[in-house]
Amino acid sequence: MTNPLYKRNIISISELNRSELELVLRTAKRLKEEPNHTLLANRVVASLFFEASTRTRLSFETAIQRLGGSVIGFADANNTSMAKKGETLADSIRIISNFADAIVMRHPRDGAARLATEYSKVPVINAGDGSNQHPSQTLLDLFTIYETQKVCDNLKIAFVGDLKYGRTVHSLAQALSLFNAEMFFVAPDALAMPDYMLEELYNKNIRYSMHKNLESLIPQLDILYMTRVQKERFEESEYHSIASQYVLYPEMFTKAKPNLKILHPLPRVDEIDLEMDNTPYAYYFQQAENGVYAREALLSLVLNEEV
């Protein structure tokens, strides 16, 4: 039977239903346990990074090569015809989709990946479009949750830090809403979860609550999803007072459940004390490694009728 992601564009996490998400998770688990070097044999994948994103690009390109495929593309758009000669994105995609079997693209403008699907002959996988969507990040987050908790259902998860601008938080909350998670949002007022996201969760009957203090929540959590408060969003003095409220130290975790894992989309700056890295709760580096398996799963499902 043809897998439901075959030849699909992967633009927004909200377009994947629960069984499709589970298919990606199962496939990622299998590819992590039993590496397969032929799923992308003789396939060419275009890796188009119109803005730099080292971790995402290397993770995708590793995934392509580990599955036996080859990569064409660029790591930043400055040296391309788009930048040098003013070619439109639409024309660029028209041309490149003649060369490759799939396109992985990162772009600084919101909605660029959706636009690309209208001009591409081959499936487009969104590797981040401005502040909009980054579905492969959500899939690797979800895969890491599944790997550490053995299930995705009925988990208690706290999102901490910048919940206003963090697209990874919004997308993961949307995905977990299909698995009946209970969500705790811990953020300063200026970086609170946007109302439209809360409305969406409310409409799906998801239990959520807002908090200022993280420590008292920790004993009941299965997952703590940490994010970075970005310096450029605040005045210098305001930044220090806000950022210092949301830092993880080992002493905060004396009453944590043994299965608790801390995730972080990285890069980390000061918000997770380096001492945390040696605790059993730290899982953010394994999470980054899982990016390769989640992307292997996505690419192999999009490019193969059966996996």
Partner: protein
């Protein structure tokens, strides 16, 4: 009978019960201001007395019959309008806007970083009915806006 303030037409469409001030936006919406190029004959009345609205705007377009889809596009700007289709000086059809599922190629996306503001593409907004009123969600950047915020982009075209 009161003297007609706007001359009757023989064939075409009459857009009536437009809230005063919105007439100009409807002209922009239907790209009706470019009359030199299109040759369209259009009669407009602004700020006319109205029993139901107090004051209203009115637009008469000769030799052009709007259809239900086009009228539906007005659900965002002026949901209470009526559109009469005139043939041989008689009203042969009457339309009221129904809220459409999407609106294409009328408004700009208010998100300044949306790709639709950089590439030559038609915009499309999905219409969402929310407890707080009608919202429009951009097909490209997936951001959701209050209908009035999107409606204002007509003025920047």
């Amino acid at each position: 009978m009161a003297k007609m303030q706007v001359e009757a037409i023989t064939n075409g469409s009459v857009i009536d019960h437009i809230p005063a001030g919105q007439g100009i936006n409807i002209l922009k919406h239907f790209k009706m201001l470019d009359t030199q190029r299109t040759g369209a004959k259009i009669t407009v009345g602004f700020n006319l007395p109205s029993k139901t609205l107090g004051f209203k705007d009115l637009i008469k377009v000769e030799n052009k019959q709007l259809n239900q889809d086009q009228v539906n596009q007005l659900a965002i700007l002026a949901p209470g309008v009526t559109v009469n289709i005139i043939e041989d000086s008689r009203v042969v059809m009457k339309y009221r806007p129904e809220i459409p599922e999407h609106i294409s190629n009328v408004y700009k996306c208010p998100n300044s970083n949306c790709i639709s503001n950089f590439e030559h593409v038609s915009t499309t907004f999905y219409v969402l009915r929310r407890a707080t009123g009608l919202k429009l969600k951009c097909k490209y950047c997936e951001k959701t806006f209050d209908k009035d915020v999107v409606g204002q982009t007509l003025n920047s075209r």
